[in-house]
């Protein structure tokens, strides 16, 4: 039953010209799950996330989000998307940016909560152009979750975030997931991968392996997730 899945990707392929960025990817994410997308640079993680929120159309296969075939404008208000590069308006202040994204998603309250979550409430008046890279990343996250979406798509959210805050981020992710928010997060960082309930390994546009961190360890034949990952990636390539 598709309805029990928040995200259901079936046999999706996507090409840019002659280049196959995604090749027959199947992926199912249950509601309230934290799903980690792992894979080397250029594997197709961003492309997959864009397909899930309907920014790209698949050449083959279907994407179903919250019971609706994508692309679908109606579903978008329930999705929060944090892009890989911190996409913000540099001339606006932190608070103005967050308020803007709240407004276009039809949720005007929640700005303060979002700012407190990313610990930017004290810096809310700072102009984004003057922020450091990590602070921008935090502002970008606040913009993605200010409207309390049912599905959060986070494309490498913790790049440039200091270790203490990273731990706090994952705490909040877990709390949101416990409240029913589905989270798909791409990452290169293995200790983050360990915090996901399920992982998908992508390489060359294919889903190589899928399962809980324990499953991946077993499949890769190593107690170390990174080694297991490298073993899986290397095995399929040869």
């Amino acid at each position: 039953m598709t309805d029990s899945y928040a995200v259901d990707v079936e046999g999706v392929s996507k090409s840019f010209g002659a280049f196959k960025a995604l090749n027959g990817v199947n992926l199912r994410v249950r509601q309230g799950e934290i799903y980690g997308l792992l894979g080397p640079n250029g594997a197709g993680k961003t492309t997959l996330i864009r397909l899930i929120c309907g920014l790209l159309a698949a050449h083959a296969g279907t994407v179903t989000v919250l019971g609706q075939r994508m692309p679908n404008v109606g579903v978008l208000r329930h999705i929060g998307y944090m892009t890989q590069q911190a996409a913000l308006y540099p001339a606006l202040s932190v608070e103005e940016n967050v308020s803007f994204f709240a407004a276009i998603n039809g949720a005007d309250e929640g700005v303060k909560d979002a700012l407190e979550l990313v610990e930017l409430y004290d810096r809310r008046a700072s102009v984004v152009a003057t922020l450091s890279g990590g602070l921008r990343q935090r502002c970008s996250l606040a913009c993605a979750l200010v409207h309390r979406p049912e599905l959060l798509l986070l494309d490498e959210p913790t790049v440039g975030i200091d270790p203490q805050l990273r731990v706090q981020f994952w705490e909040s992710f877990r709390r949101m997931a416990a409240n029913g928010t589905t989270i798909i997060v791409s990452s290169h960082v293995m200790d983050e991968a360990d915090r996901c309930q399920r992982l998908g390994l992508i390489q060359y546009g294919r889903l190589l392996a899928e399962g809980s961190p324990a499953d991946i360890r077993a499949q890769g034949g190593s107690q170390n997730l990174e080694e297991a990952f490298l073993a899986l990636a290397g095995r399929k390539e040869s």
Partner: protein, 366 residues
């Protein structure tokens, strides 16, 4: 100073151009387009103004002067009756008409001729050939009236403008609107490209925003800026430069608002065809200069070569400029059919551009 490092910079620049075919094409196409247009406009122009001749002279000399005018290479003439003259100036079919009064032959015999010259007056540059052609005809006349010095004192009457009306009045009326049009166009195209390059457009597309909402939001925002700018330009033009204005300031404002809306949507539409700010900047000469040349700002559309007139007829700016001049120079209000047409066409262009801007704003990235 290291030649090696300087070369590295030069090489990097040229390598960028090699990939950016569009920039390269524009760099070499734009000057040819602009210079070609200018050449065609100036050399190929059919700039002999249409002049009506009303010969009411009961004597023989009027016929002779009319004949001399007809053969003048400076003007194109048609025979009219003096009563129709003003109507023909108003509808634009004539830029001037000359009345030779019923006692013209008698005046000539007595040595003082005073033909009436009625000028439309809003277009500088066309008055001179009319007066020169008449002067020439008078020389012919003088040679016929033997033994007498004929004193030539044309009675010049202006329908619009008048003696104090100068080039600045003529260009000012058009530029008041133009300045706003081009500046708004530039800021729209650049800020829309920023939206694309800083990644926020991707975020907007992944939000429940509809394309129409984005276009409308942009339109309102920049129209507000444009109107503040228009107010400033208008106050400066009227109070400091003392450009003549016969019409209602509110109408000028309304026309400027329409032009701003057209400019915003033109900017959104064209930004879809540029991948970088670098490329967008190059749309500016390609969009701005031909419109400057062809919309009748500098060269009246009626004096352009026929082929270019067709082009002028489809440019929104032609109508906008014409409308601004009608209001400021001629004191037109909304009961004038010419102003209704101009405002209607500019509004129509706005609608087409809004649709085009919305249509090019695709939700999907690929």
């Amino acid at each position: 100073m290291s030649g090696h490092r300087v070369r590295a910079i030069t090489r990097r620049l040229l390598q960028g151009f090699r990939r950016d075919r569009r920039t390269l094409a524009l760099l070499f196409v734009a000057p040819i387009v602009i210079l070609g247009l200018l050449g065609y406009l100036m050399r190929g122009s059919t700039s002999s103004p249409s002049v009506g001749i009303a010969n009411e002279d009961s004597g023989p000399l009027g016929v002779m002067v009319a004949d001399a005018l007809r053969h003048s290479s400076r003007i194109t003439t048609t025979d009219i009756s003096a009563a129709d003259g003003d109507a023909k100036l108003k509808d634009g079919s004539l830029v001037a008409y000359i009345v030779l009064p019923s006692d013209f032959s008698r005046q000539a015999q007595s040595g003082n001729v005073a033909p009436e010259v009625h000028l439309e007056g809003s277009q500088p540059g066309v008055d001179a050939p009319v007066l020169q052609a008449l002067q020439q005809a008078m020389i012919t006349l003088a040679s016929q009236v033997a033994g007498r010095n004929v004193n030539f004192q044309p009675q010049i009457k202006y329908l619009y403008g008048g003696k104090s009306y100068d080039t600045l009045d003529y260009f000012g009326a058009a530029f008041v609107g133009l300045v706003v049009f081009f500046l708004v166009f530039v800021i729209t195209i650049v800020s829309f490209l920023n939206e694309r390059s800083q990644g926020t457009l991707e975020r907007l597309m992944a939000s429940p925003l509809r394309r129409g909402e984005i276009v409308l939001g942009y339109m309102l925002g920049f129209t507000v800026i444009a109107l503040v700018q228009a107010a400033e330009v208008l106050i400066f033009s009227l109070a400091v430069l003392k450009i003549q204005n016969q019409g209602s300031v509110l109408l000028i404002f309304g026309m400027e608002a329409l032009m701003a809306i057209a400019a915003v949507n033109l900017g959104i539409f064209l930004s879809m065809f540029a991948r970088s700010e670098f490329q967008a900047v190059q749309f500016i000469p390609l969009v701005v200069v031909p419109q400057m040349l062809l919309s009748g700002i500098i060269f009246p559309v009626s004096t352009e070569p026929k082929a270019l007139q067709y082009l002028s007829d489809v440019l929104p700016l032609t109508y906008a400029v014409n409308g601004m001049r009608d209001i400021m120079v001629k004191g037109a209000d909304l009961t004038w059919s010419s102003l209704q047409l101009d405002a209607g066409v500019v509004a129509g262009f706005c609608i087409v551009l809004i649709a085009a801007g919305t249509a090019t704003l695709r939700r999907r990235l690929g």
